[in-house]
C-alpha cells in the first residue's frame, strides 16, 4: 500500500489526521505524512475530506460507483 502526499498542495489542515480511522497520517511541519501506510484499508475518507486533493493512493481496490449519472460522467471527462 503506497500513500503519496503532494507537499505543494497540502495546506496542513490536519483533517485527514482527524478523519482516518486507522491513524495513518500525522502532521509534521505543517504537512501531512503517512506514517502507517500498511494500516490503511482503502476507505478513502481522507480523499473526500482533503480540501486540496493532495492525496494519492496506490494498491487499493476501486469500488464500483455505478450510482453516478451518465451525463455527469460525460461532463467530468470534458472539463479541461
Amino acid at each position: 500500500m503506497e500513500i503519496h502526499v503532494d507537499k505543494d498542495a497540502c495546506v496542513g489542515c490536519g483533517l485527514c489526521v482527524k478523519d482516518c480511522p486507522m491513524h495513518v497520517y500525522e502532521l509534521q511541519d505543517n504537512v501531512s505524512v503517512a506514517v502507517r501506510p500498511n494500516n490503511c484499508m482503502g476507505c478513502l475518507s481522507c480523499h473526500e475530506i482533503c480540501p486540496a486533493q493532495a492525496l494519492e493512493h496506490r494498491g487499493i481496490y476501486a469500488a464500483r460507483r455505478h450510482y453516478i449519472d451518465i451525463n455527469v460522467c460525460e461532463m467530468l471527462r470534458k472539463v479541461v
Binding site: 495546506v11 489542515c13 480523499h47 486540496a52 455527469v72 472539463v79 479541461v80
Partner: protein, 305 residues
Amino acid sequence: MKIAIEELAGCSGCTIAVLDLHEMLLDVVAEAEIVYSPVIMDVKEPPEGIDIAFVTGAVRNEENHERLEMIRKRSKTLVALGTCACYGGVSGLSMLNSSEDLFSCVYREVETAKPDGVIPTDVPPFLYRAFAVGDLVKVDYYVTGCPPKEAFLKKIIPAMIAGDTLELSHKSVCSECDRIMGQVDNWTLKRRHEGVPDREHCLLGQGYLCLGSVTFGRCAASCPKNNIPCHGCNGPSLDILREPCRDIYGMMVRRISDLTDKPQKEVEKELYDVAHTMYAFTIGSLIMEDKENSKIRDLVKERSR
C-alpha cells in the same frame, strides 16, 4: 481553421479574456481565423463550417436558445467558455426572483427608469428558467472561470487550435494556495469587511468564508494570495461535481465542523445568505440542482413566487 466566439446571456468578459492573450493573439489568428464574434466583430450571422465555437454566457431567453442551436449545428467542436456557460454562473442568479419581479425592478423601480414605466414586449421573451449550455446541447469541452484566467487560456487556446492534448491539474483552489492552516481557536464567521486577514494562515481557519476547498482550481489562487477569500468563481471542484451526495454547502459545513470541532448544526446557524455566498456561480446548472442534498431547489422556490 475557423473559430467563433458566441455571446449568449453573459457580460462579454470571457470574450475579452480571449483578447487578454495579448501578443499571443497574433500567433492565434495566424493559425485560425475568427469568423464570428458579436462582441468584437461586425459579422451578424455565424457561417457554416466553423471548426471550434466558443460559447460564453448562459441561456436565459429564447434568442439565446436559438443562437445556441444555430451555432451547435454550424460548428464541429463546441466549447463552453466561462462559468456562465458551464454552470449558469452569475446569469443564473436571475433565477432567485420571478420574472415579474425582475422586470418591475429594472423597468420601474430603479432611479434611471423611464417615467412611463412600460415593460417592453418587443424583445425576445425569457425562458421559464436559466440553463447552462451543457444542459441543452452536446458540449465537447468545458472551460470554467469568471473569466478564465489569462495564464490558463494561454495554454489552452493554442493547444485546442493545434489539436494537442494537455495535462493540467484537476485539483481545487486550496492546492494552489500558499497558506498554511495553523491553529484554529474560537472560530466565528466573519464578514469580509471585518478585520484584516493574516497573510500566512488559511482564510477559512481565520473565520472568513473562503470557498477555495470546494472550488475548481486553475486560477493560481489569485484571490487568496491577495488576502481576499475565494468566492468560487471557477465552479465546483470535481469531487463535488461527481458525487450526487456531495454539494458545495454540505461540504463547507462539514469541513468547517471538522476543522473547528463544532457540531454541524452550530456551523449552519452562523452561515447566512447561502444563495449568494455559496451558490453564486452554480444556480442554473441542472447537474448542480439535481444533487440530492442541494439547497438550490429550495432557494429558487423561496425567492421567486
